[in-house]
């Protein structure tokens, strides 16, 4: 049964990923991305990573996809129903894609995967939390600082020019 679910989820993920890549409409690509994310979240669940699956939904669907849609809507005419992304440079990109595909499939086939025979579906949240707070505390904090920096940068960039000008003397004084 789990195999069947796996196959179904894989088909969902791959097909919707193809839609993302192949569709000429940005919006349809975004919707395809939604189903890709959902398929991947399902795969996480199958891999007994429940927390990761929920995070996938929360961050990618609730955050990033909404941002993508917002960006598409804001940077185009809203009244224009046909948002399209025309394809350029088909031949080089095809070569790159095929090469990448070959590399990855080769890697997937030749790697000796460590197979866990008896998968136990156990909650991972507590373990994850403990690990993040002990063993991986430093990377966790570094990532937090990086994200904070990005946040501050975004806030500064989106400030209107006049506010920026008003802000500058203070900053220079501070330096």
């Amino acid at each position: 049964m789990a195999d069947l679910v796996f196959v179904l989820l894989s088909i969902l993920t791959v097909v919707s990923a193809l839609i993302v890549a192949g569709n000429s409409s940005v919006i349809y690509s975004a919707v395809g991305l939604l189903f890709t994310f959902m398929g991947v979240a399902g795969l996480y669940v199958l891999a007994s990573a429940d927390f990761l699956a929920a995070t996938q939904m929360l961050v990618y669907v609730g955050g990033i996809l909404v941002l993508i849609l917002f960006a598409v809507f804001l940077s185009n005419r809203i009244s224009d129903a046909k948002l399209s992304n025309p394809t350029h440079m088909r031949v080089p990109s095809a070569i790159v894609c095929i090469a990448l595909f070959g590399l990855m499939s080769n890697a997937a086939v030749t790697t000796e995967w460590a197979v866990k025979t008896n998968v136990e579906y156990a909650p991972t949240t507590a373990v994850l939390g403990r690990l993040l707070m002990t063993k991986y505390l430093l990377p966790f904090e570094v990532v937090s600082v990086l994200l904070l920096a990005a946040l501050i940068g975004a806030a500064l960039l989106s400030r209107p020019e006049s506010a920026k000008a008003a802000l500058k003397p203070d900053m220079e004084e501070g330096q």
Binding site: L74, R77, I78, S79, R159, P160, E161, S162, A163
Partner: protein, 378 residues
């Protein structure tokens, strides 16, 4: 706190939005063409004329008396005031002496109608702001005024009660007592409205500092009525150019005080209407106490032909100054009837004050100006 976004920072494409003529909060068939930058309005141009009925031409084609029912349709929320204003205009034109009781009755019904008109203004304004319950409370109170009017004139909306030279019928027995009862019931309700919505933080936040109209602009653009008084100009025709029996009453002219923000914002215009309801109650109590006995209509010939001449009469209606300019050529019909309606004049300033507001504020501005479409388009 009014939301203006620096336009120079991020050049974006503007969007043209068509608000109306079918839109729930344009109070009728007003059409506003919005050019917006996201939620921020760059320009809002009112497009009026969807309700044009040619009332001024109709006036020329009807005898003086027969035009009375059409004044009901001028401002259907304050039909009594329009009726009375027209009657006073014709009487001024023809020099008719109106019995004092008729004048008192006119003032009583006018002030009652002012209350009911302000109630609708208050109610629909709160409904525009998203609070639907005060609207129904306002309608409930207005229903009682309508009952009172129905008893004396037989209709609930288009009263057609005034006649040239008086009013169509005397008050029914015990009617004044009922009015008193209503006033006793209604006065505490005003405080209730204030507690329920007027001083609500969200409501104040929506209105304060939105669409500020300076007193100079008000005068320059010819705003009248509560919209003018909201900007702090204490001008009320009932006081400053008294007509009928208004000089006999003691009442205050309510002006905006810039209570929650700048002087002349939406909140000031709103609160002036609330205060005016109290003043109307005051006038009504005095009028009920002072009303004399006597006839209610002067002797006016059945085929009424005023002497050639012209006159302009203006009255303080709930929405501002309603003026009738009549020219008589000695025949039974007016030669020309020009109607000055406050809402139409108010619309002139609309484009100016809405610049840089948000879409939700447009609704607040329309509500705070308390425009009524049949008056704009006549």
């Amino acid at each position: 706190m009014s939301a203006t976004i620096d336009q120079t920072a991020l050049p974006t494409q503007e969007m043209t939005l068509n608000m109306g003529p079918q839109h729930p909060s344009t109070h009728g068939v007003l059409r506003v063409i919005l050019r917006t930058d996201g939620e921020v309005v760059v320009n809002a141009r009112p497009d009026v004329g969807y309700l044009h009925r040619g009332l001024q031409k109709i006036a020329e084609r009807n005898p003086y008396g027969s035009f009375m029912p059409f004044t009901d349709r001028l401002d259907y929320l304050a039909s009594m005031n329009c009726n009375a204003a027209y009657a006073w205009a014709v009487e001024k034109l023809a020099g008719i002496e109106v019995p004092e009781r008729a004048e008192f009755i006119r003032v009583i019904v006018c002030e009652l109608n002012r209350i009911s008109s302000h109630l609708i203004s208050f109610g629909s304004f709160t409904a525009d702001m998203g609070a639907f319950t005060p609207f129904l409370y306002a309608i409930r109170e207005r229903e009682r005024v309508n009952d009172l009017f129905e008893e004396i004139c037989g209709n609930r909306l288009t009263y057609n009660y005034c006649r040239i030279g008086g009013v169509s019928a005397d008050l029914t027995d015990g009617w004044l007592g009922k009015v008193k009862e209503f006033l006793d019931y209604f006065e505490p309700k005003i405080d209730e409205y204030n507690n329920l919505i007027t001083y609500n933080k969200i409501f104040v936040g929506r209105l304060a500092n939105v669409a500020v109209v300076s007193p100079e602009d008000c005068v320059a653009y010819g705003l009248t009525g509560p919209n003018l008084r909201g900007s702090g100009v204490a001008f009320d025709l009932r006081k400053d150019e008294p007509y009928s029996v208004y000089p006999k009453f003691d009442f205050n002219v309510c002006v905006g005080r810039g209570e929650k923000g700048q002087l002349g914002d939406c909140f000031d215009r709103y609160i002036v209407r609330i205060d005016e309801m109290r003043e109307s109650v005051k006038i009504l109590r005095q009028a009920i106490a002072m009303i004399p006995d006597g006839p209610v209509i002067a002797k006016v010939p059945r085929v009424f032909k005023p002497a050639a001449g012209e006159c302009y009469f203006r009255a303080e209606n709930p929405r501002g100054e309603t003026g009738f300019y009549l020219i008589s050529d000695g025949s039974a019909n007016p030669y020309r009837c020009q109607i000055r309606t406050p809402s139409y004049v108010t619309m002139n300033i609309f484009e100016k004050v809405t610049e840089g507001l948000m879409i939700a504020d447009i609704v607040a501005v329309i509500g705070s100006f308390d425009i009524i479409l049949p008056e704009i388009d006549r």
